[in-house]
């Protein structure tokens, strides 16, 4: 199968002809998708477009009905969420899913679970290796809280008592704690006011550029975000992919996508698109359209 986008290097994540059916409903239909290393990619689309389904297939909550999900050169579909996380994909949730009654620090420490090595025997005997690891994990937890702008003053605060915006940040810190290569953010700015949105956008950029992995000798990571807020997506993403009713209808640079008729139609309805293109058959033709789009 010919690559849809000419890759500059080996892509970090590649979705090959992914299909997901729930009974008779096809939620995601034959989507091809590539994420470059160290990029910020936006995944947008109207409600019910299949964005979160696609996300859940990457993170192992769903298994694709057909197609392959390749992460870092390895096929990951069929793996359990915890195994996917161990391979380096961290995520946040659309509706915040922190461990509400654990403290902020404990949340971040739980995130580091899959990077810890202490066995049951080590725990019971409280070996020096175990104590050292606990100390490291705690120190890194505090650093991560600091990094996302929560600061250690909130470390011992129960997660559910944090303000809404800080809960979103804590979720990002917890995802970073799993030491991901790819960070998936599901509507990270949902429910935030413009000021908080700006600050969070800056944080996402900062994470992409300067995140320091404890295990790999490289700076930064790759981000894939779902977002409803067009302003956020267009401002932050280097590439944008648009899904509509489970089908990829456009892909490219933000400004290209913004002026794409299919996208405008998907978001605003047929009448608006008609002005540009003159009539029906748009959805039917879309796959050819997106294939014809120049690679950037």
């Amino acid at each position: 199968m010919a690559p849809l986008v000419e890759a500059r290097a080996t892509p970090l994540l590649e979705a090959r002809s992914i299909i997901k059916r729930f009974g008779g409903l096809t939620a995601v239909s034959d989507v091809n998708f590539v994420i470059e290393k160290n990029s910020i990619t936006g995944l947008i689309g109207p409600n019910g477009a299949g964005k979160t389904t696609f996300f859940n297939m990457i993170t192992g909550l769903y298994t694709p009905t057909e197609g392959d999900m390749i992460f870092d050169g390895e096929r990951i579909n069929g793996l359990k969420p915890s195994q996917v996380t161990a391979r380096g994909i961290g995520r946040t949730f659309q509706n915040i899913r922190l461990f509400a009654n654990l403290t902020a620090l404990e949340n971040v420490m739980v995130g580091q679970h899959c990077r810890m090595k202490t066995s049951l025997v080590g725990t019971l005997l409280r070996t020096s290796a175990m104590r050292r690891e606990e100390a490291t994990v705690k120190a890194r937890g505090l650093r991560l809280l600091d990094y996302v702008g929560l600061g250690s003053r909130f470390a011992d605060e129960t997660a559910k008592n944090l303000p809404y915006g800080d809960q979103r940040r804590l979720e990002i810190a917890r995802a970073l704690a799993t030491d991901p290569k790819l960070l998936l953010l599901d509507e990270p700015t949902a429910g935030m006011n413009p000021k908080e949105t700006d600050a969070l956008t800056a944080l996402i950029r900062e994470v992409r550029d300067s995140y320091e992995s404890p295990s790999r000798n490289e700076k930064g990571l790759t981000v894939l975000l779902i977002e409803h807020d067009m302003k956020v997506v267009m401002g932050i993403s280097e590439r944008v992919t648009v899904l509509d009713r489970g089908i990829k209808i456009a892909e490219g640079l933000p400004h290209e996508v913004q002026s794409n008729e299919n996208v405008i139609e998907a978001y605003l309805g047929k009448g608006h698109a008609a002005k540009g293109k003159g009539g029906g058959g748009v959805i039917k033709n879309q796959r050819t359209d997106s294939k014809n789009q120049p690679a950037s």
Partner: protein, 678 residues
Amino acid sequence: MPKPVRVGLLALITSTLFMWIFGNQGAQVIVITALLITVLTVVGSVFYEKQLESILSTPVLPGLIGLLIVSVFISQLSGLSIIGVVIGGMVAGLLFSHLSLMPRPMSIGLITGLASAAFLSVFALQDHPVLILGGLVAGAYGALLASPMSVTIKSGLLTGLVGIVFVLTYANERPSIAIIGALLGGISAGLLASQKQHRDTPGQGAIQGAIAGGIAGLSTVAALLLVWQFIAGASGISALEFAEELKETVPGAHALGLGSDISTMLLLIVMSLAAAVLVGALIGAARTVSGPTGNLLVYAVLGAVVLSLPWIDRAANLQLLNAIIPVFVFILLALGLNIVVGYAGLLDLGYAAFFAIGAYTTGMLSSPHLGINLNFWLVVWIAAAVAAVAGLILGAPTLPLRGDYLAIVTLGFGEIVPIVFRNLGGGGATGSLSLSFLNWKLLDQLDLTGGPSGITPITPPKLPLVGVFTPANQIPWFYLIVAILVFTIFFINRLRGSRQGRAWTAMREDELAADAMGINIVRTKLMAFSMGATFSGFAGAFYGAFIGSIFPSSFEFSVSIVVLCMVILGGLGNMAGVIVGGLLIMGADRMILPEAANLIRDIAQTKTGSNDIAAYQDLTQLRLLLFGLVLVVMMAIRPEGLLPSARRKAELHPDDDTRKQEDSDLYDAERDPHLAGR
């Protein structure tokens, strides 16, 4: 004249008239009605209003109509005159409908007093002076507890109940129980007082603890005097016999050459008070020291009290160990179940299965039954390992299940395991195992488990200096179970604060999110089942060896439920709470209820000459009813348990500030044009 006084006078006049007209039965009627109304008001207020006052201040007329119906019902049941019941009911109704107008101590005292009198009348003490006296004393205590006073004194009065209950049930035959009662009351008083009000210096802490402990000791001593003067006589023990018991059981009475019962009694009182004050002061002082040293000191004091128990028991000839040891076994079970239910949030209703597996492993490997007679010290580890593996095997099918479904499947396992053990032996065609391969008979009529009659005898453990553990000397058994408990607490404590413990908590909070954060759910769940099972394997091995024989009927469903009750009553997820819950429930079950039942039987015999009492008067028959009631009331008024973990408490009582935060988020969302447009 203020209304409460008027009502009170009215009630007094009516009830006097009423007693005069109907004679002896009158008191019973009043008391039964009052009991019913107490229950109804308490239950009603707990479920519908959550506060006593509002339901009690409802208009009188509907209440009276309700009472009329209840009265007819009672008169039908009891065969008493309906007029008597109605009048009695009205008196009680008037009293209760105006409870809210009284000061709180008075109303609480009244309720306690009437409820106790009702309790006494149901349980064989249909002796009016005793009934009235009991009601008055209990009422006064209730009123005292409800009145405003310093935290220290209140702690002492509250925990003094422990000593009171022990003394009331035991002291007619073993007066020196007062020492144990005062010791337990004193240490709880010290702990409670320091919990409610923190002191800064050890000196202040010691004084606070000593006062609280002293109050608890005084309550115990008061109960002792009550037993001496009234209850012992009522239970058929003459003053002479009681004096004899005093001399035999009070440690040091012989050595000091005390002759008269009063001097022995004084010695006992002094010893009880000294014990209560001493432990109260020690624990109070230890609690003021912060950090690990402080914890160590508190553990040291608690440990000293626990370790001294068998020697006090022996010196005072109390023979309590036979009851205390099973209590500790059940606490061990509860600590194990707490891992599964409290930490990992997996509701396991079949926990007794692992207890059975541990016990049967010991039975099979350490008795002449199969001819394998391994050393107990080896078998205890094998039993724990077998239970751990069983935890994995029984846990595996439940992995995809959550909540109710998990509970149902574990319930099934809990039923299956004892039945399997019952059917794997006993001889005959069905009760034995035969297995042949081609023509070789691998197993021929093997009786594996002894069937319904179980395995007996199980070889007791043996230690170099101690020798063979025997039923006659239970001190080694006591120290063995305490050692196992300490070992268990130590390791569970390590697990809780570790990577594994965090994984359990995270899984309980949000399984999906935990999975997405890289926690292997399968492994984490199986680990919880397996670790929980391990500790019940220890419990099973010890229990089998201690009892000396095991039967399938020792591991039925009620065991799982009682252990679960202990965990829930004490506080899910908190080891201290689970231990307290275990002490209360099993202490009541194995120590208080049987003794109380004996006492009631003795009193009945003294009064009527017959040993028969009605089934509803036998407290040991009512144990499950009582546990059920306790659990229902706890769930309604304090779902997080007596000593909850901070986390559970937060879950069940969302803080007001969280709610405020949510409200303000909503408000922002409505007002924010950016969001409103979405």
